[in-house]
Assembly symmetry: C2
Homo-oligomer: 209 residues x 2
């Protein structure tokens, strides 16, 4: 069964080539002929290792999600400062997470943009493993949110985590995108710290009303 290993090797080479292409030129840099040249095969051979170029993009995006998770884990490890209250500790963790997200995206901008720019045609859906990976990342946000608003129903935390992530994602994405005025990274970090802290504080205040 050497043909199967060769197929796997080609697949890996293509994924690696696609990852380099995305890092260098974004999603638009993923071109069948270039990938074939870099992986050392003919254009047509791509379609034995992979159904689509879309499948390659999903593979690369999956690796990017895994890399983000590693960054979030590293960011969560240290810190552990004493906090006056559980709510303050939760707020600090949310701010920390948001800043870690900002820094990951800043350090991996083209790779990360590919995660959100990629759209598959018509009604085709993302692979299950990909959705699962994406979903699991939200648990990082749900845990502090539970500490922040323990009285909320279970499903509400998942919804709030989506909303909070979307908000931070918007700030990070539009901030790094220089479409409307260039915002230095340090200023962006400061804004995120202010806004996430204010948001968390506001949520806690809402609770007691």
């Amino acid at each position: 069964m050497k043909t199967e290993t060769r197929r796997q090797n080609l697949r890996d080479a293509l994924i690696a080539a696609a990852e380099r292409a995305i890092a260098a030129n974004g999603l638009a840099g993923v071109k069948a002929r270039d990938l074939a040249a870099e992986a050392g095969c003919a254009v047509g051979a791509i379609y034995n290792a992979v159904a689509d170029l879309d499948e390659l993009v999903f593979a690369v995006n999956g690796r990017t999600l895994a890399a983000l998770e590693r960054s979030l884990d590293d960011a969560a490890r240290p810190a552990r400062k004493k906090a006056a209250s559980p709510a303050e500790a939760a707020t600090a963790r949310l701010v920390h997470l948001a800043v870690a997200y900002l820094e990951f995206v800043a350090a991996n901008t083209p790779r990360w943009r590919a995660v959100f720019e990629h759209r598959l045609p018509d009604g085709r859906a993302a692979p299950d493993w990909y959705v699962a990976e994406q979903s699991r990342l939200f648990t990082y946000i749900e845990a502090p949110l539970r500490d922040l608003q323990p009285e909320l129903a279970a499903g509400q935390h998942a919804l709030a985590a989506r909303t909070l992530f979307s908000a931070v994602h918007g700030i990070v994405t539009l901030g790094l995108e220089e479409k409307l005025g260039v915002v230095p990274l340090a200023m962006l970090r400061a804004q995120i710290e202010i806004f996430v802290a204010a948001l968390a504080g506001g949520l806690v205040a809402t609770r007691s009303r």
Copy 2:
């Protein structure tokens, strides 16, 4: 000078065709041959009325920005409830603006997505009139923010307006994009009301510290 009016007419027809194409099939629906067929001209004639297809997209996006501004104006008109404090009035206006934004985007999803999906190749910049239009829209956010945090330096309000817009934009965009779980519009509106109100409340609380 009939040729000049004909050129203008063709330009208008092409913009209208592009707008229909975007509304129906998104940015990817803008195709030279289809536009030419719908505008009743040959493919090559497009390039007499317009430099690029990008120019057409910018024209359509400009119209979309104008439509958003009309929606925001309409949304700002009524309401005018009595508020206990300037801060509460400002918060209510920010929530109102965010909800109006959500509803505009929900009612014009493909058109609005085109505004953010459109990327021009290499180092070409957006036209000046387009940047100005986009910039002017931020003043809608800056005014309530000034009421909310009067002690902030002038430039800070512009920065905070960008950040707040980015956050709401993230919530709206990822919420309407059904990539990760479908969130009903009503639920999305509730989330926005909660989050913007909490954020505004948190910002006010930060001020007094």
